[in-house]
Symmetry: C2
Subunit: 344 residues, 2 copies
DNA sequence: TTTAGCACTCGCTTCATTAGAGTGCTAACA
DNA sequence: TGTTAGCACTCTAATGAAGCGAGTGCTAAA
């Protein structure tokens, strides 16, 4: 177990390194007002801390830098009490006081304010579209051979697919089918649509519609969703400004991950239970993110998780501040969505 | 005027520099098989070319590098004849042989193949949405207070807006309004909708609908388009691999431009007439693009420009190859769209 | 247990040196 | 008169030595 003095030293090392980005030496530490003992004592303690794996040197005679384990301990046990400035709080709340009716816009704004305030990158995973319930299906013919199929969910999400619709199919059939689909499928979660069509709708369609085959294929294609959930990124380029990424190769690796997006999707999906989660460096298990931490929070309605909101920064990131900001945004977002979804 | 020999030297310098990225010296040049005269002669000619502003030195005793004026002359007069490989041609045509019915997907694929083949960044400006004609307007109520208004155009483009719809408004009124709008506005280009509503639809609505004010405001809001045209970028991160951007500051500046997107919008809009256009370095007049060239092409149907497709690379880019690729994609795209739009 | 002191290590910067690539100029050549 | 060989010169990039400063580990004394 660590002594109180070791904890103090570890905390100050991490705080200082987060602040200034420079390895912290015993002399620097001895000058801090919280510290009443000499640099030699500090050196002894630091040697112990290093042996335990909480800090490390960049080279044999350098100051110390937190190791991944050190950050982990810091985040788990040493986080300084939060203090957001009035400014931060106001900036965030101003968004949620605006009259916004579109989920996408609200989420986008949340992501943007977070990346602006932190200077890191923000990722937000929207509610899983699969769980949204179908409000209506529409098929709008465009010309002799194509039509656009439009799906609307109870959350106001709209998705479209252009489909072929040979002129041999009578318009009345199309109309009939749309009616049948809406009658039978309204209120069904999107993920269950395919099943429901097979079990309950197919036989009705076969009875009433001539080109049953083509139509069924077409409608299945339309319901095959592009995106299982929408993802929004903001402040992608903020990482350029972080001094740890002045190395072009590290930067390349990271920007590739950011650009790909699919890794984020995986990471954010992983976060199931409520609350804040901090993943440091290699804990993320993504190549290119060794020097990054990802802090995720969920937002929810009635205790049920809707989506995830996350901030990506260097491992040397302002954990305390980011966690507070994230908490604030997540709870505000949850509140607004609770009001929306109540009205159903 | 430049002599034939000067032209030959200029051409070889540009070709060589594009290929290897290193300043070209007289000795290197004298070894090229096209060159029959000595390095001393070359030095004399180069001194003249430099005085005329076509080439420059990176430092006083270095080899020569094309200046912006040099690239300009090269592009205008010295482009080597095109030779695309079988592979390139096949890669491009494979896209256009796929069964794709969605404009967005087709454009996205075009952008992607171009950025893959060139290793540069591709930008495509879709057809101006404003000119699309309204196919239908739908209003789908979501809950007691909101609804989603959906606009579909003749090209299959779909746009949605969530709007407030107080429960005090009778559903029959909404239905009535939608009918009136569809009756009067189908086939009208989106850009004319607002006018048309004021002049032709407003008075009809007033006659038939109670909460005329709110409804009119709502519908105006819905028709206020987000995007005047859609833009697609592909291969944003390709620029990371260009050796000219191993300087982190230049990279930052460029990625900011790429991320902002609005500059591209401006640049691509500028290209009105048909054909290929090459803008080199500062000709683009965008900060951060001093070391880039932008090659744009238009695609069109029946001689009428629909959109623009562009490749962004370093000034030291493979002009000849990119121009050919761009030409091929643009003409193929035009062909496919001609078939689509013929059927209206 | 704490601290002062000291030898030692390493990274960073500066400075000088050298090799190499390339130039401009001059004088000789065809 | 145009072309070329030759040479002095310039500048970059790479290399290495020297000195500085920050920091460490260890020892011995308080």
């Amino acid at each position: 177990m660590l002594t109180d003095r070791q904890l103090l030293i570890l905390k100050i090392i991490v705080d200082d390194f987060i602040r200034f980005g420079q390895p912290v030496g015993s002399r620097t530490l001895s000058k801090k007002e919280q510290i009443t003992f000499s640099s030699a004592t500090i050196r002894n303690e630091m040697a112990d801390l290093e042996e335990l794996g909480f800090i490390e040197k960049t080279h044999i005679s350098s100051g110390r830098v937190p190791s991944q384990k050190g950050y982990r301990y810091y985040v788990d046990h040493l986080l300084p009490p939060v203090q957001l400035t009035q400014k931060d709080v106001q900036a965030i709340q101003s968004i949620f006081h605006e009259q916004i009716y579109e989920l996408e816009k609200l989420i986008e704004k949340s992501a943007q304010i977070l990346s602006d305030l932190t200077n890191y990158t923000t990722v937000v995973l929207g509610p899983s579209v699969k769980e949204h319930k179908l409000k209506t299906i529409q098929i709008v013919p465009l010309n002799a051979e194509t039509a656009v199929a439009i799906i609307v969910t109870d959350t106001g999400y709209v998705e479209k697919h252009v489909v072929t619709l040979p002129s041999s199919i009578p318009p009345s059939d199309v109309e009939k089918m749309v009616n049948i689909l809406n009658e039978r499928l309204t209120g069904v979660p999107l993920e269950d649509l395919t099943d429901k069509i097979q079990t309950e709708v197919a036989h009705v369609l076969r009875e009433h519609i001539q080109s049953y085959d083509h139509m069924l294929r077409m409608i299945s294609y339309s319901l095959d969703l592009n995106a299982p959930a929408q993802m929004f990124l903001s402040g992608k380029m903020n990482m350029l400004r972080q001094p740890e990424f002045s190395d072009i190769d590290k930067l390349r690796a990271l920007l590739n991950v950011i650009e790909q997006e699919k890794e984020f999707y995986r990471l954010l999906r992983k976060h199931k239970q409520q609350g804040i989660q901090v993943k440091i460096g290699t804990e993320n298990d993504v190549e290119g993110m060794e020097n990054c931490s990802l802090i995720t929070a969920t937002y929810s309605v009635d205790g049920e998780k809707l989506g995830t909101i996350a901030v990506l920064g260097p491992t040397r990131m302002e954990y305390s501040r980011v966690i507070s900001l994230l908490n604030l945004v997540a709870t505000d977002l949850s509140k607004v969505l609770s009001v929306w979804y109540q009205k159903d």
